[in-house]
Amino acid sequence: MNQWLTLFQKELIEMWRNFKWIWVPITFILLGVSEPLSSYYMPQIIDSLGGLPEGTVIEIPPPTASEVLIQGLSQYTTIGVLIIVLSTMAILAGERKSGVAAMILVKNVSYFSFVTAKWAGGLLLLWLSLLIGSIATWYYTGILFDWIPIDVFFQSYFLYGLWLTVVLTLTVFFSASLLTPGIAGFNSLAVVFIFTIVTGALSNWLEWSPSQLTNYANEMLLSRGTPDDALPASLLTLACIIILLWLSVLIFRKKELAS
């Protein structure tokens, strides 16, 4: 346990020294907050760009608070995913490629701790950045539109976080199995993309698919109730995360550190 904490602490310090603790939360804030701000100020923005031709009557119905928050949060499933993958893809592949993993693992360090401590570091960064970003979005939606009950907001935050944790764990998995960070990143994005498309196309059959979680979160924000499939989908997602992480450790241990 002591060893695990040492490894975990090193991850946190490293993320501090390379400014991940600053740029990831800030990007998450900007991504989310831009939605309520741009929706609210849309008429002014159009005016300042020269306005619409005189006589045009375009009724833009003001979006509801739920719609604005959903738009804001949905940024995290696109650009947010990209940020997570890019900032995580080197987590194991990079250290193995440089050789520093061999320097550490030639000592009496458990592979399980080595991989899970890194994963946990990424997990903390993800959930905190998402928390700060989505609370800022929720706050701006509240003052510019309408307040969404905080418990509903937190439930959907949780579902978004769970889906992004799948993305994170998948990236860790590819980073453990491949030598090049770039290829690990590409594979992660490709799998997430294909997975989302397939789930979207077959949504009637794949109700418990992890990538449905964000849809349930959105439904929750619109209807203020919990969809029936949210719980089983969450449990299945949790199982996927554990299996992926376990496989990551297994594969990382199996691969020779020096080639």
């Binding site: 002591n2 050789g99 061999a102 000592k107 020096a258």
Partner: protein
């Protein structure tokens, strides 16, 4: 007393056998050099001993290891090109390594400072490793290999990449470490091995072609030799010496004639007399013994 026993160790990469079944043992407290030309399999051997690579076949037995004990506790390893977390300072990296090896916070720091002092980079302890020179990184690498007081440290080409001053310093450091731990290091520089090692393992094409202590090797391959340097062509005098009854064999290189003799004392007298009698234009007369390089050429050349 053997610390580690290696039997029938083999390693293949994609069907090509790189290590072809080697046997040796390392004795406690000795400094052993793993010698061999580039590509002989030195790095592969060390990687298998350190546990970074799985042997294709064969066994590595640590005599002291208790059942189920992780052998990684017993060894310290310095790869040929040590890599660190460049964003850490030297002290941070060593403390980190110490904490991973199970030392407490204070203990790890104290041990790190002690090692930084030992390897002579104490004044750079708070500098980022990214700013370290090659020699400093090598020394930090040695320090990290020692952090958990291993019974055996393995160093892969610890001095090959260093300039003469850095090389001198690291060699002196190793000389000092001999008292504390068993050292196995690989090199292709024969002088280094000759200087600080008690024992030599010659690796060539994945096989151990010769091994033993320096004294044993000298005895086994010893052949007293007299080098004669002449002004101008030496070939005409070579015949005189090659027919001499004390001569074993002879080789000629430019103005130098190397005569391997059966009895150095008699040969010295006889040759000197011969030279003055015949009035040969001698420049230099040298009684030399076989160097490790001669041994190396002999065992690798065959």
């Amino acid at each position: 007393m053997p610390l580690i026993q290696i039997s029938h160790l083999k390693k293949s990469f994609k069907g090509t056998e790189v290590i072809k079944g080697i046997n040796f043992r390392l004795d406690k407290g000795k400094c052993i050099a793993l010698l061999g030309p580039n590509g002989a399999g030195k790095t592969t051997t060390l990687r298998m001993l350190s546990g970074l690579m799985e042997p294709t076949d064969g066994t590595i037995i640590f005599t002291d290891a208790k059942k189920g004990e992780d052998i990684r506790e017993l060894i310290g390893y310095l790869p040929q090109f040590p890599v660190f977390y460049e964003w850490m300072s030297g002290l941070e990296f060593l403390s980190y390594a110490g904490r991973l090896a199970g030392l407490g916070r204070g203990e790890a720091k104290a041990r790190s400072l002690e090692l930084l002092k030992l390897v002579g980079i104490l004044e750079a302890k708070n500098r980022r490793i990214a700013k370290y020179s090659g020699g400093m990184k090598q020394r930090l690498g040695i320090a990290q290999a020692l952090i958990h007081r291993p019974q055996l440290i393995m160093l892969d080409e610890p001095v090959s990449a260093l300039d003469p001053i850095g090389r001198r310093e690291v060699l002196d450091l190793l000389e000092g470490l001999k008292k504390e731990t068993t050292i196995l290091f690989s090199t292709h520089i024969l002088n280094d091995a000759e200087e600080i090692c008690d024992e030599i393992l010659f690796l060539h094409n994945g096989k151990i072609v010769e091994s033993g202590s320096m004294v044993e090797l000298r005895e086994r391959h010893q052949q007293p030799k007299i080098d004669l340097f002449f002004t101008g062509k030496s070939l005409e005098y070579a015949d005189i010496f090659s027919n001499h009854k004390l001569t074993h064999s002879i080789s000629v290189e430019g103005n130098k004639v190397s005569v391997f003799v059966t009895n150095i004392v008699l040969a010295r007298q006889a040759f000197l007399r011969l030279i003055s009698e015949q009035n040969m234009p001698l420049e230099k007369f040298e009684v030399s013994s076989m160097t490790l390089e001669d041994v190396f050429m002999k065992v690798v050349g065959k």
